[in-house]
Symmetry: C2
């Protein structure tokens, strides 16, 4: 099965006809369809299919018990109204790279696996990389049991309804211990490769990244009859804080976004009692990120005080900077550099996006490949990568897997 | 049945244990309970109960066919997490005033009715005063059939599910033609009576009032990887517009509120593609309201342009200024003035809130009484009126009904 035909099979699954974007949320029908597709791809290639205790899917060539395995893959779930590439490109490219290696007649000296990590985007339960976090012990079983979706369904309930044994979730050191190297291919989510004119790049680091919930609590009241001076309207300090976040990020060379909001009672003729906004912020280093978030929070408190509004700020998640292992990164650069003009080197770039590779990097040697994104747009129906660049990505991944697993 | 015991019966219906506020939305279970309560109050007093073609409930003393009827009442539905008084105070006070008149031995020379108008708040279908608008021909049958709730259920479907014959909705000129005067008692939704030290006041006018939907359309993108300069984030011009609305309202002596928002995709790590905010604005006169809304829209367009974001502004509803009939208003002042110190006059005040009385005022002579609200808080679980003031309201309403219907 070619890259093109695999891609065409996945394309309709979980696509919203309204937005043209994807709604492949963990443990929903669309997710189950993607998982059935993964299993079918594994079995049609004679690979050994496994579903691990945390709902991650594995397809093995060779005996995992031999250890020092080379693993590649990504995820198949999406953000709300996400694009087709973020996640699936890595999984489809993994199968296509294996096909290319078999066509080359490559002889594997190590076990190879392709993995689909569950619930990478966190669209349903609000926490990203749940499958890899659980496996790596970066999310405790107790914490996982407290995750709920918008309908109040907990993560274990959702897994159970999708047919998984929830008694078993938890750290999986034995499984991760078999992995000698993990390489995740991903569409780039910025424009660095487009600006440098490269089809493929290697990740250097993932920026430190956090999510903070800002709860502005005011006083619900009638929007038509309450004098302005009598109001404690939490929408005003929220609005000022949105602008402060952009200002602080710009000054620091970081990014900061308020992209999610919940308002109570959210009535046209009611001054809100609560405006809850989520700040997502990332920067190249920890000190810069601290500066941004401290600045936003300080401004928010001043604005809230001025309106007689209460403010609570809760850090909901935080991922420190991830420096991918230098030895593996340099090995990838060496493998890929051989194929290129000696004058050119493969670009090595940092990213603001979190990935399962970032979670695993604390446990196993990990690296990432990026495929050019001509617009930089991601997490949007408009996300795009040219087929030429995708094919270049498959070749690069095949080269890397051959270099790592066929030595 | 005393005011107090009627109040106690209504109090638990549709109350949220989470917020302490009311969720009595049109044609839901809580609404049906309130309607059963109304019918039982009517029948226990030997009044003739009627449900009209638009779902408004009537309780008649005397023969409606005699014409020139005096009608009082209000509504029993609520905004999301509303208070106990907005609406129910008028209905309960109407029954209590009738009881007081009977205790006084009043002899009625005109028919009297108590009414509960359906769907006054518009919490479910987004349009206020649906019952009175339909009766007065201020909402066409076609428009009513296009109203939908958040689950896509249309108004006729909702009425049908609640057991009403939806074939029959529409203008009801014959029924309104029987009415000689309509008086609605309502808790004040500002602090004017509290500041003047009065228990009861008379309405002069309802401010002109409109709702405008602001759709800011940007480009969904990854919140971690998209450079600030590459963003078209609609949350930024939305935030600036919220602040502009407050500024314009303050300068004009009006009110303007963004209390409802919808964001797409509303993900923590996604720059929004759409931020939709609703502006509610009201002012003492039309020219002032125009100035405010024009100013907000102009600012919003500048902010949107600066971010490369598209803006559409749609006026979703508009109610021009309502001047209550001067003859009836003066008659109320005369009746109530007799009971008071000759030096004091009953305060006459305008309001920013819409009411069924405002809708009916175009068709029948209409007046309103307000009962003191010590905090001015309304559309909130904290809405409150002291029992003393409620009792003074009942006495004032009884005096007015006696003066109008027992001459």
């Amino acid at each position: 099965m070619t890259f093109h035909s695999m891609w065409a099979e996945l394309l309709p699954i979980g696509r919203s006809s309204a937005s043209g974007g994807y709604r492949r949320f963990a443990w929903t029908g669309a997710d189950t369809e993607c998982r059935a597709w993964f299993r079918q791809q594994a079995e049609s290639r004679g690979l050994t299919y496994e579903l691990d205790r945390n709902g991650n899917q594995w397809a093995w060539l060779g005996d995992p018990a031999d250890g020092d395995a080379v693993v590649t893959g990504s995820h198949l779930d999406s953000v709300p109204d996400g694009g087709a590439f973020d996640g699936p490109l890595g999984v489809v490219s993994s199968f296509a790279a294996l096909d290319e290696l078999r066509a080359r007649g490559a002889e594997f000296t190590k076990p190879l696996a392709i993995v689909n990590f569950g619930d990478e985007e966190g669209a349903r339960f609000g926490l990203a990389c749940v499958g890899s976090r659980l496996a790596a012990g970066r999310l405790t079983v107790e914490q996982a049991h407290r995750l709920t979706d918008a309908d109040g369904i907990t993560l274990p309930q959702a897994m159970e309804r999708a047919g998984y044994d929830v008694g078993a979730i938890g750290p999986d050191p034995e499984r991760l211990g078999r992995i000698g190297a993990f390489v995740e291919l991903h569409v780039e989510q910025g424009r660095a490769l487009d600006l440098s004119g490269d089809q493929v790049g290697i990740a250097s680091a993932i920026w430190p990244h956090g999510r903070w919930r800002f709860d502005f609590r005011g006083e619900a009241n009638h929007a038509g009859t309450t004098r302005l001076v009598d109001r404690h309207d939490p929408m005003l300090p929220y609005a000022e804080t949105v602008l402060a976040a952009r200002r602080e990020a710009r000054l620091a060379g970081a990014v900061a976004t308020f992209g999610k909001i919940a308002v109570e009672p959210n009535g046209v003729n009611a001054i809100p009692s609560l405006v809850r906004g989520w700040l997502d912020s990332r920067a190249a280093d920890q000190a810069t990120l601290d500066t941004v978030v401290t600045g936003v929070e300080k401004a928010a408190r001043e604005y809230a005080d001025a309106q007689g509004v209460e403010l609570d700020v809760v850090r909901e998640s935080f991922t420190p900077v991830v420096e991918f292992e230098h030895a593996l990164r340099d090995e990838l650069a060496r493998i890929l550099g051989k194929e290129r003009d000696a004058v050119l080197s493969v670009p090595v770039l940092g990213t603001g996006a979190g990935h399962d590779a970032g979670i695993l990097s604390g446990t196993v040697p990990t690296a990432m490949l990026f495929v050019r994104n001509p617009t930089g747009v991601s997490h949007s129906p408009a996300e795009y990568a040219a087929e030429d660049d995708c094919v270049a990505g498959v070749t690069a991944l095949a080269d890397v897997l051959e270099g790592l697993a066929c030595r």
